[in-house]
């Protein structure tokens, strides 16, 4: 493949890594966000305090700094623990960092969505003698989904772009591959523009996909006006 001065394959491989990191962090981050939201609405003081501290701290610190803390901090911790020099895997550190960041913002999105579900729905579930777990799974979660979707969509777009930050600690993602190719060929313009075009493609496809998902999630809703 002589596309992009022979770096075409590398760029494609980087783009796949970028998508892998983003999708893994998305799935894990949604789980963290749901847990955080449940903690916030649980009414258990300690849990709420924990979730509040988590979201306040993470949302006030640059994503890049969180990645650096986990990567270099993780290396020091593992080295001390195992007694020999161990370098943290950039993929793991990156996914961990992005999951923590996504989870913090998703906590707020899910909390708002939870509160948007009408109380009467939960009362109706109680009247039908559904257990707490069943109420959450069958009644609250499907309705939360619709309220949470626009917020989650925005977070996904941010996450997709934040993956570029992990290239700073050496993950072989799209951004890193573009940097390496730019350095080797002395042609940064071509490679960074290529990277930009690929990121733009990912976000555009995401936007289209999100519009479809939102349409589907709102199919049971009567439209007033």
């Amino acid at each position: 493949m002589t596309l992009l001065q022979g770096f075409g394959d590398q760029i494609v491989a980087g783009a796949i890594t970028t998508l892998q990191v983003a999708l893994t962090s998305l799935v894990l981050g949604i789980a963290v966000g749901l847990g955080g939201a449940l903690a916030k609405v649980s009414g258990i003081g300690a849990l709420r305090w924990l979730a509040d501290s988590y979201t306040t701290i993470v949302r006030g610190i640059p994503e890049l700094l969180i990645i650096l803390i986990l990567y270099f901090g993780g290396t020091v911790a593992l080295t001390a623990l195992l007694g020999r020099y161990v370098e943290v895997d950039a993929f793991a550190a990156g996914v961990f960092a992005l999951t923590i960041v996504f989870g913090a913002y998703a906590t707020e999105v899910f909390r708002a969505a939870f509160l948007a579900v009408p109380r009467s729905q939960i009362e109706a579930a109680h009247a039908l003698a559904l257990s707490k777990a069943l109420t959450f799974r069958l009644v609250i979660l499907p309705q939360m989904w619709r309220y949470a979707l626009p917020g989650l969509g925005n977070l996904w777009l941010t996450l997709l772009k934040d993956t570029a930050l992990i290239s700073v600690v050496g993950l072989e993602d799209l951004m890193r591959k573009a940097s390496v190719a730019a350095g080797a060929t002395h042609d940064p313009l071509t490679f960074y523009l290529t990277a930009a075009a690929l990121y733009l493609t990912f976000t555009s496809v995401s936007l289209a996909g999100l519009a479809l998902l939102e349409q589907r999630a709102g199919r049971g809703v009567r439209i007033s006006e």
Partner: protein
């Protein structure tokens, strides 16, 4: 945790934080100046005016800031003719490149936020301004923008905090702001916990102050609404009780 190290590196981190503040403040200011006219164009009903702005915000919001930063820092120098123009004295400085990338990125987000505010301005306000014979520029200045800005303020406050955090990317092009300074010290001491967590705490303190300042500003700008909110369910913007008393003869008599 080695507390002596924390105290030892604090002065250097704080001077880095100063540069972070300066970078973020200048980018936000420049971003706002660019976004103001763009948001008006973007709200225009003419596609000729709004579409180019949409293309700009789409590209800048759809790609990572890091790519934009590298394109300007590494990419601009590659174009021969730029090197011959006076612009090169600016574009070869990492500091200016960061400022340009951050400002353009911030302007794209701010444009869309302001557009949201402009769209939310009640149509009645604009009609009233037209009925009073206000020209486009006058009603934009006195009616549309002040209301739009108030409505957009919560989203804008978020954007300012995001810009503050995004300024940490400047460290990737050798700028010694807070994150850059922290990375340098970690490379020298290899004590990531002490140094990075100290830097994180400084960021937290700055964000806290920014969030509080915007909350105050929001309350101040909504001041005239609080008083009338008790007027059950009537449109708070249009309903100043003292005015109503003055204009309605029956109510005026009762008040006396």
């Amino acid at each position: 945790m080695n507390w002596y190290l924390v105290i030892d590196v604090m002065p250097r981190l704080l001077s880095g934080a100063l540069l972070t503040l300066l970078l973020a403040a200048l980018s936000v200011l420049a971003g706002l100046l660019i976004a103001l006219p763009l948001s008006l164009l973007r709200s225009s009903s003419s596609g000729m005016l709004s579409r180019p702005v949409l293309a700009y915000t789409f590209v800048f919001r759809g790609t990572p800031l890091l790519v934009q930063l590298f394109l300007i820092y590494y990419g601009a120098g590659q174009i021969e003719w730029i090197r011959t123009t006076p612009a090169w004295t600016i574009l070869k400085e990492p500091y200016w490149c960061a400022l340009i990338a951050f400002s353009l990125n911030n302007a794209a987000y701010t444009t869309e936020i302001l557009r949201g505010g402009i769209r939310a301005v009640p149509a009645g306000e604009v009609e009233a301004a037209k009925a009073l014979g206000m020209s486009y520029s006058l009603r934009t200045r006195r009616i549309v923008l002040p209301i739009a800005f108030r409505l957009a303020l919560p989203a804008y406050a978020n954007e300012v905090v995001l810009m503050l955090k995004a300024s940490s990317l400047a460290s990737t092009i050798t700028i010694m702001e807070l994150t850059g300074t922290a990375r340098k010290i970690v490379a020298q001491t290899f004590s990531p916990y002490e140094v990075f967590i100290s830097a994180a705490l400084i960021y937290l303190a700055i964000t806290f102050v920014v969030v509080r300042a915007f909350a105050r500003l929001e309350r101040r700008l909504a001041h005239h609404l609080e008083r009338t909110e008790k007027n059950n369910g009537k449109d708070p913007v249009h309903n100043d009780p003292t005015q109503e008393l003055d204009s309605d003869p029956v109510l005026r008599q009762e008040a006396r």
